[in-house]
């Protein structure tokens, strides 16, 4: 296929040495290296997928790398987000990312966008770039990235991960399908767990992010067969790669013949306002970690129900009775409806579901521990590990 990028003028002698292993390959050569230098790639997210992809694109000589992120580096990121190091904990991911990128290749022009990608800013940001790489972590932003790519005519290099399984494709090229052709609608809130709840094998974003980087490079060079119209499935546990055929849906609301999405919409509303699990606040029956501490210290008779999975219980616990959320319907008989009960999980999402279920089952005196055991560790017991 043809390259998306015009060729610039020349490389310096330092650059020629740096890229020599590219320059001696006919598939890249001087022409391809100049295209890489001219290319402007936007990474949405500087996390698990964004880390390897930004580092490799920088090393390969992509001239301009944009990064959209508003987060700060947390200890729990370091298991996979190799853009950031231990000393960066607490810093803005953007600053840490820019430093790592410049460290690898000072020729890269890093453009930082310290913002959440929204319907108000996406088109404006995307227009400055040739290729968009989606390294986000929630459905709302994925649909936003896709629609903004279709509207601006930029390819969407897609990658997504869950536990030890990943998906990758190239969406929204002129001839190929878009993300909505594959998934017309997002799953309802709560049905698919986030990485914070479900976990992710640390090397998996490495695998998938590098597939995305490879696709971005191929689009820039205009060589090889990009993943257009193909969905690559990666199973890291079985170490199997499979490929499915994707078609451009003629009825697609974003890229079909009679498209209905002609501007960006409210994606939070479209996805039912749930990207990552957020602690529910202010609901009747909620209990804060401080209240729980106070009640326990007072010697109140509280039954603590832990609805996490057994391997999470091993990391840390409040000594509660363990019934994983998915076993609750079968094991509800173990619980005494007469006792006052506090239900918790890691962040408060699963326990909220458990509380709803228990209320339907006739339990009237049930509370949800807001923010879960992580909030307890933050605000009551700093010695408790967080995960």
């Amino acid at each position: 296929m043809a390259s998306l990028v015009e060729q610039p003028t020349a490389l310096s002698n330092d650059e020629i040495l740096r890229y020599s292993r590219h320059l001696i390959m006919p598939e890249v050569g001087m022409e391809g290296q100049l295209r890489l230098k001219q290319a402007r790639v936007l990474c949405v997210g500087a996390g698990g997928l964004g880390s390897p992809l930004a580092l490799y694109l920088a090393a390969a000589g992509v001239g301009t790398l944009g990064i959209v992120d508003f987060d700060v580096v947390d200890f729990s990121n370091l298991q996979r987000q190799i853009l950031h190091s231990t000393a960066d904990v607490g810093r803005k991911k953007l600053d840490s990312a820019a430093e790592s990128i410049t460290g690898i290749n000072p020729n890269v022009d890093v453009r930082k966008f310290e913002t959440r990608l929204t319907s108000d800013n996406a088109l404006e940001i995307f227009r400055e770039f040739d290729i968009i790489v989606d390294g986000t972590d929630n459905f709302a932003t994925r649909y936003l990235v896709n629609d903004a790519c279709v509207l601006t005519g930029k390819p969407n290099v897609y990658g997504s991960i869950f536990r030890f399984e990943g998906q990758a494709s190239v969406f929204a090229t002129k001839q190929g399908p878009c993300y909505r052709c594959l998934y017309p609608e997002p799953p309802p809130p709560g049905l698919v767990p986030s990485c914070a709840e479900g976990g992710v094998l640390g090397i998996l974003p490495g695998l998938v992010g590098i597939i995305q980087a490879t696709e971005a490079i191929k689009l820039i060079l205009g060589s090889g067969e990009p993943l257009i119209g193909r969905l690559l499935l990666v199973d890291a546990l079985g170490m199997r790669f499979r490929e499915l055929k994707l078609r451009k849906n003629p009825d697609c609301p974003a890229c079909g013949t009679n498209r209905t999405i002609t501007k960006l919409i409210d994606y939070e509303q479209f996805c039912g306002i749930r990207g990552e699990e957020k602690p529910a606040t202010g609901k009747l029956g909620d209990m804060t970690p401080e209240e729980l501490k106070q009640r326990l210290d007072r010697g109140d008779d509280l039954f603590i129900l832990d609805v996490r999975d057994p391997h999470e219980y091993q990391i840390c616990n409040l000594g509660g009775h363990l019934i994983p959320l998915k076993e609750l319907p079968q094991r509800v008989g173990e619980l005494d409806a007469a006792r006052e009960m506090v239900v918790h999980c890691k962040l408060g999402g699963r326990s909220a579901k458990a509380v709803d279920f228990l209320k339907q089952q006739g339990f009237s005196n049930v509370h949800n521990l807001v923010g879960g055991i992580n909030a307890w560790a933050d605000r009551v017991d700093p010695k408790m590990p967080k995960y």
């Binding site: 989606d134 972590d137 997504s160 991960i161 609608e185 799953p187 479900g198 998938v208």
Partner: protein
């Protein structure tokens, strides 16, 4: 035929990654799967009994939406993949 169960749905299929079912169509295969693992139903079908829009079924490497949907005939050596949407990556 073989049905491949994706990671997010394995907790509802006794942890299995692949399940053999007897079937002559895609619809029969999914019904057989749900009969043996009833918890999967709400993840695959909505309250109206139609396949959820975010769950894609692939017979070998083709989307059944472009074959004969759930009426698509299947053979013993075929593989049906359930491909749900997943969103993780930045966090």
């Amino acid at each position: 035929m073989k049905i491949l169960i994706p990671t997010p749905l394995r907790p509802y299929a006794a942890g299995q990654s692949a399940i053999e079912v007897p079937a002559s169509t895609v619809g029969e295969a999914v019904q057989a799967l749900i009969t043996s693992h009833p918890e999967l139903r709400k993840h695959l079908y909505n309250d109206q009994g139609t396949l959820r829009a975010f769950v894609n079924l692939y017979l070998n490497e083709d989307d059944i939406r472009y074959l004969q949907q759930e009426k698509t005939p299947v053979a013993a050596g075929d593989t049906l993949s359930i491909i749900p949407s997943i969103a993780g990556g930045r966090g």
